[in-house]
Symmetry: C2
Subunit: 184 residues, 2 copies
């Protein structure tokens, strides 16, 4: 007779997610997750292959949430206004929970097909808006590769307190955005 399951893959992923968001990736230990789920560490391996698989689940979850946050935050009538509000939504997502943001696009795990798919999913809103803005097909990718690195780099540096030389950081973001979207 099988012992009743005390937890589930989903519950464990949720706990892992909360640990990361509250205290950073280092707080995501197999012991802490198991403990919060009311099981012993070895039992966790019936649900996830290893700690990396747990972290991967968190990353995918966060990418899904980012996509939803971006869609919800996109507003305006002109293409440029919509792209700007999208960029602000992206930045706000990072600032709202730095340790949540840090888990995405981290490491060199983009080769993993599931991570890759999740990144692609999160990038869809931008692709759609660029096409809606009548950006030619062969310019969508290069332009995305200007916008996303700027956003990613800006957010990482901001949540890492890298902008510590004074000046208005909000204004700098606006200037950068305006510069990049000037051609539209």
């Amino acid at each position: 007779m099988p012992t009743p399951a005390k937890t589930s893959r989903e519950a464990l992923a949720r706990i892992a997610r909360e640990l990361v968001e509250a205290s950073g990736p280092d707080a995501l230990t197999v012991g802490a997750v198991a403990n919060a789920a009311g099981i012993k560490p070895p039992s966790l391996y019936k649900h996830f292959a290893d700690r990396a698989a747990l972290l991967k689940a968190v990353e995918i979850d966060v990418l899904r949430e980012l996509e939803a946050h971006i869609r919800a935050g996109t507003a305006g009538t002109t293409p440029k206004a919509r792209l700007k509000s999208m960029a602000h939504a992206y930045r706000d997502f990072g600032r709202a929970a730095p340790d949540r943001y840090r888990v995405i696009y981290s490491g060199n795990a983009f080769i993993d097909p599931e991570i890759r798919a999740a990144c692609l999913f999160a990038a869809q809103p931008l692709f759609e808006e660029l096409r809606a803005a009548d950006v030619p097909d062969d310019r969508v990718l290069p332009l995305s590769r200007t916008i996303v690195p700027f956003l990613h780099g800006f957010v990482l540096m901001e949540i890492g307190s890298a902008f510590n030389l004074g000046g208005d950081v909000d204004e700098a973001f606006e200037v950068g955005l305006e510069t990049i979207l000037a051609g539209l």
Copy 2:
């Protein structure tokens, strides 16, 4: 009578640096560094407060090297040409040794005064070129905060294999650079 020193702070930092560059930050363990230096792990604490201090020394070292690499790679007569060559030098520095690049601007340790100073040092070449390009004083900071995030984000994504949708990545870098420097 004091026992003769088998190693030094500098030698340990160099070993740490090599471990990170060759196998990533996770390879930087107190045991591995001590072993390579011919001492036992506890002895390392006579030279560095803890593993974090060792990693910090590596980060500062890499930032110094980045500054030198940028200066050496900056060429051209027009301001825009010089800024472009500078950006290419930055990107090349990251691509040449991804695990070396990953240690800089990582974590949220910008509050640390030594890291802060090293980051400032590495940013000097850009500030100087922007001033030489007659960019008004109050625009140097916002413009830097457009260029550096783009470069940092681009390099991180590139070494993380994030640009895996096809297309010419070199061309994308050029497009992004051209877009950002268009106003000069």
